[in-house]
């Protein structure tokens, strides 16, 4: 049975799409984007997720969805807290990979002449690139504190201010974290990597606001035309990767005990309330805290760079969101409130105004949603909506999504050519690796504006502002 188009931006995967689907699938896409989604295994993966026990609502995919491992990237699935399952693959390897945005008092004209100095200083002060260790050497005891307290640990140790914590999803600390649920290996892999950007699509970008779509929301978020902002995209590094690896094995081994069979091994899962399920959620929360601390430390160093190079002014943390996470939340389903575990795998929480988890100063507008584009294109600030709450468990898209393999991206262009091309467009780049740069060239990704337009028109987030980079630091 093929998929059916419900309206301009919604495509339904009926239960007849494959055997064993417990719920329907729903894809958010435009006519153009659904073509790309149909070309890889995304639909199949969304349908596979729909076979998991205890799901409520629908198995969802956002317009930036593309083929992942088990779950599609851009997937959202909610499981009944009592009867449902948790899947480590439903969060993915880079637990709490996420984005934060720092706003400045500077305008484009003020920063443009000193962009190279800023980038050079940032490149010197923030460890980045493949295999790079952090500046800070911490003991296992200190690491346990990071895992317990996340961004709070960072602030207590001088990386940022108390005001920052109010502007981070979960206030920068998932309270159910338990460092004892992580293997020694996960800690060993991550201890050296705290305060590092990593490589791949992770970046720090100095951007400026080119367009404001929603004046009221922009004012509340502290955004204005031509303003310089800094976006940081990074995650939980090797520590989070190892937590997912470890618990995929734990879940696979435990599944027969709970009489669970999955159609793809990468979907290994256990009941949320089982011993293994609870252990995973505590370990995942600890890894998420590591990522919150990681982004907090890099923000601190970015602030220092601005102080050193410009000499005055400050960067304010506007917001920090997770893109890969599972959260216990309450949602209204068929007229009643239900407690669920929402898996967001390459998706962003998008809570509307008046939700208790929205920061006080944004309470009358809604939660900011941060959407990074690919290197050298644009990024967006959106705001959560009521419709996201009623349709997508308060979730929306997370970025652009790759459209080209790394190998294909490297063809026909050298790093020098790419740097020159971007410079001509006013974008200065520093990259730890030359091949890493060409792999991340703008054309290797889908058009982030097309993705954002879909969620805006479908009503599962609203556009607030658009940013374009003038300086990019890649891992």
């Amino acid at each position: 049975m093929p998929i059916t188009q419900l309206d301009e931006y919604r495509y339904l995967i009926p239960k007849s799409f494959r055997d064993g689907m417990n719920v329907e699938g729903l894809i958010y896409a435009s006519k153009e984007l659904i073509g790309a989604i149909e070309r890889d295994e995304t639909l199949k993966q969304v349908a596979n997720v729909a076979t998991l026990p205890g799901l409520v609502g629908r198995s969802l995919a956002m317009p930036d969805a593309h083929q992942g491992y088990g779950f599609a990237i851009g997937g959202v699935a909610a499981a009944d807290l009592e009867k449902g399952v948790v899947s480590a693959g439903g969060v993915g390897f880079d637990i709490n990979c996420g984005v934060r945005l720092l706003t400045s008092n500077y305008s484009l004209e003020e920063v443009k002449p000193i962009i190279d100095s800023l980038l050079n200083q940032m490149f010197g002060d923030i460890p980045c690139g493949t295999g790079k260790s952090g500046i800070l050497k911490i003991s296992f005891e200190q690491l346990d504190k990071v895992l317990l307290d996340g961004a709070h640990w960072a602030v207590e140790n001088g990386y940022g201010t108390l005001d920052d914590l109010e502007h981070i999803e979960e206030n920068g600390r998932m309270v159910n974290a338990d460092p004892n649920e992580l293997s020694k290996r996960a800690k060993q892999r991550g201890r050296d990597q705290l305060g590092t950007l990593g490589s791949g699509n992770h970046f720090v970008e100095i951007q400026y606001i080119t367009e404001v779509f929603d004046e009221e929301a922009a004012k509340v978020f502290g955004l204005r035309l031509n303003q310089i902002v800094v976006m940081i995209h990074s995650g939980s590094r090797g520590l989070g990767h190892q937590v997912c690896t470890d618990y995929l094995e734990v879940m696979q081994e435990a599944m027969p005990k709970y009489n669970i069979k999955v159609v793809d091994r990468q979907l290994a899962c256990v009941p949320i309330q089982s011993k293994e399920g609870q252990s995973y959620l505590k370990a995942m929360a600890a890894a998420a805290n590591f990522a919150f601390a990681n982004r907090q430390m890099m923000s601190h160093w970015t602030r220092k760079v601005f102080e050193r190079v410009i000499g005055s002014g400050s960067l304010r943390l506007m917001y920090d969101v997770a893109h890969n996470i599972a959260k216990e939340e309450e949602h209204r389903i068929n007229g009643r409130n239900v407690k669920v575990l929402v898996h967001r795998k390459g998706a962003t929480r998008a809570f509307p105004k008046h939700h208790r988890d929205v920061p006080r100063d944004y309470f009358e507008i809604g939660q900011p949603v941060l959407i990074p584009g690919s290197m050298g294109t644009c990024s967006y600030v959106l705001v959560g909506t009521e419709r996201a709450m009623s349709e997508t468990f308060g979730s929306t898209c997370h970025g652009a999504g790759r459209a080209m393999s790394r190998h294909a991206a490297k063809k026909n262009i050298s790093a020098e050519q790419l740097i020159h091309q971007l410079k001509e467009r006013g974008i200065h780049i520093r990259g730890a690796s030359k091949s890493g740069l060409t792999e991340e060239k703008p054309e290797a990704y889908k058009d982030v504006s097309a993705v954002v337009d879909v969620v805006h028109h479908a009503g599962i987030a609203r556009k607030v502002a658009k940013m374009v980079p003038i300086g990019v630091m890649k891992g």
Binding site: Y69, T130, G131, R185, R189, E249, S405
Partner: protein, 139 residues
């Protein structure tokens, strides 16, 4: 003549397809393929040994745990694997000595950060001296 391994590329994936005339050879070639993704495998010297024992649920699971072990040694201990000698290799048990050396920034080029080994389209099959393994890694 099939290559010991080849790298498979898709928009969001990177895979290793290894060939061999025995299970040991396909596991060894998968390790070589994997190291070629992480670092310039040809420049790694065999000056140190690591002894490892792995148990698994089945052959495919053993392949994931095998490459996960090599990834861990690199990412946590900065040990680069050059070659491998098996003592025991069944569908559920692997005992091996890894030969390699610690990462040296002056000689080794690190190419990619691999997050993890996945079960996506995983395959380890063989008969009559013709073995194939296909593994995708998350990068």
């Amino acid at each position: 003549m099939k290559q010991p391994f080849e790298i498979l590329e898709h928009p969001s994936d990177l895979g290793i397809e290894a060939h061999g005339n025995s299970m040991q050879e396909v596991f060894r070639n998968a390790a070589h393929g994997f190291m070629s993704v992480i670092a310039g495998a040809s420049k790694i010297k065999s000056c140190e040994n690591r002894s490892i024992v792995l148990q698994a649920l089945d052959r495919e699971n053993l392949m994931v745990r095998w490459l996960t072990e090599i990834l861990y040694l690199y990412d946590a201990e900065k040990f680069l694997t050059a070659d491998v000698k098996f003592e025991t290799l069944t569908d559920t048990l692997l005992k091996a000595n890894l030969h390699g050396e610690p990462y040296d920034a002056s000689r080794h080029e690190l190419k990619l950060d691999v997050k993890a080994i996945t079960y996506h389209q995983l395959k380890v099959e063989g008969h009559d001296g013709d073995w194939i393994a296909r593994v995708f890694v998350d990068i």
